[in-house]
């Protein structure tokens, strides 16, 4: 127990000496170092360690690294944005064509059914709607699904724009 306390005490003293060496080196670097002679041998050795740590063998940053990196990343990002924009537009056009194709593929019976159903709904406004009133034919369900998709996409995009500072 006593040995553990001694170790802790030694470690604390050592940490204090290390940090004092850091402070003296930083102050010395700013004031032309008038403190070196005053350091104890213990702190002095740590000051030498701190000096070595302040000058690690680092590979130099290439000339124009910032300009080249920024140009490359912005160019790549610009290309990606361009592709994304056109892909998005293409998909919207595709969606419209698929929708139009779906309308044409359904026969007039479905269309008339849809109109009938809408008419029934409108005429049922004053009274409580019955389940049969809102039962839409398949095309109506598809129409609602497409509207929901478009609405969800629009909401998601608006949220993304709002989120960005």
């Amino acid at each position: 127990m006593k040995s553990h306390d001694n170790e802790t005490e030694h470690a604390k003293r050592e940490w204090d000496a290390q940090e004092r060496a850091v402070r003296e080196e930083r102050a010395g670097a700013r004031q032309g170092d008038r403190t070196a002679a005053r350091s104890s041998p213990h702190v002095g050795i740590y000051r030498l360690v701190v000096r070595a740590l302040k000058q690690p063998p680092l590979d130099p940053i290439p000339t124009d690294f910032a300009a080249l990196t920024a140009a490359r990343i912005e160019a790549e990002s610009g290309t990606t944005d361009f592709v994304e924009t056109w892909l998005e537009r293409g998909l919207v056009v595709l969606l419209i064509f698929v929708g139009a194709g779906a309308v044409l593929s359904y026969n007039a019976e479905f269309l008339s059914g849809y109109v009938e159903s809408l008419r029934a709904l409108l005429s049922a406004v004053p009274r409580v709607p019955q389940a049969t009133d809102i039962a839409l034919p398949p095309f109506g369900v598809w129409g609602l699904a497409i509207a929901a998709c478009v609405g969800f996409t629009w909401l998601f995009e608006s949220w993304q724009k709002w989120e960005r500072p």
Binding site: E7, H10, A11, R13, E14, W15, Q18, V22, R26, A36, S39, P41, H42, G44, I45, Y46, R47, L48, V49, V50, R51, A52, L53, K54, Q55, P56, P57, L58, D59, I61, P62, F65, A66, A67, T69, A70, A71, R72, I73, E74, E76, S77, E163, R164, P165
Partner: protein, 220 residues
Amino acid sequence: MRPARLQSCPTGSCNLSGARCIDARMGPTEPPSLDHDRALVEAVLGRVPGAFETLVRDYQGLCWHIIDRMVRHPDDTRDLCQETFLRVHQYLHQYRFESALKSWIGQVAYSVARRFLERKRIPIVESTGNDGTDVLEQVPDAFDLEAASADAELAAALHAEIEALPPLQRMVLTLYHLDEVPILEIAAITGLAEGTVKSHLFRCRTRLRGRLEALIGATT
């Protein structure tokens, strides 16, 4: 040619114009403030010409030090630094100003370097071993700091010992001593507890001291 809106700020700490740069009122040695970070981030997100280059220039040193000290290879360092800034560019809209931009970019750089070392199966931290505390009691009677500092052999041996440290410890020591990043910020960058960062600093410096004393003892 750089647009007029991004001419160098008076402090030289960034390339934002005086009107946009809050640090124009501060000394050149002050770290970039949160307002400076905000102005810079908004400029990058607003795609102001030159803004992203300013961001890279402001933080390339930190990024380079973190990665270089971990991977120790100039080509890998360059590639990983570029990858870091690519990620910064992609995810900057997610930065919430909850920490300094420096810490946030440091986190990205550290995680890129760590993943690189993990892929190569290089351990980033020493699991066990001598922490050097056996030299705690050995205090020399006298020590000439300036004479020892001028000893090239001693310096070379000390640098070799620093290079032999595991990647994480090397990086923590460089951030603390060269970049003067506070312990709390190093903890934020590495995701380590503050006590763990202190422990790494303590053990490495004690180990280096032990090595230095052995060398001095051998030369005297």
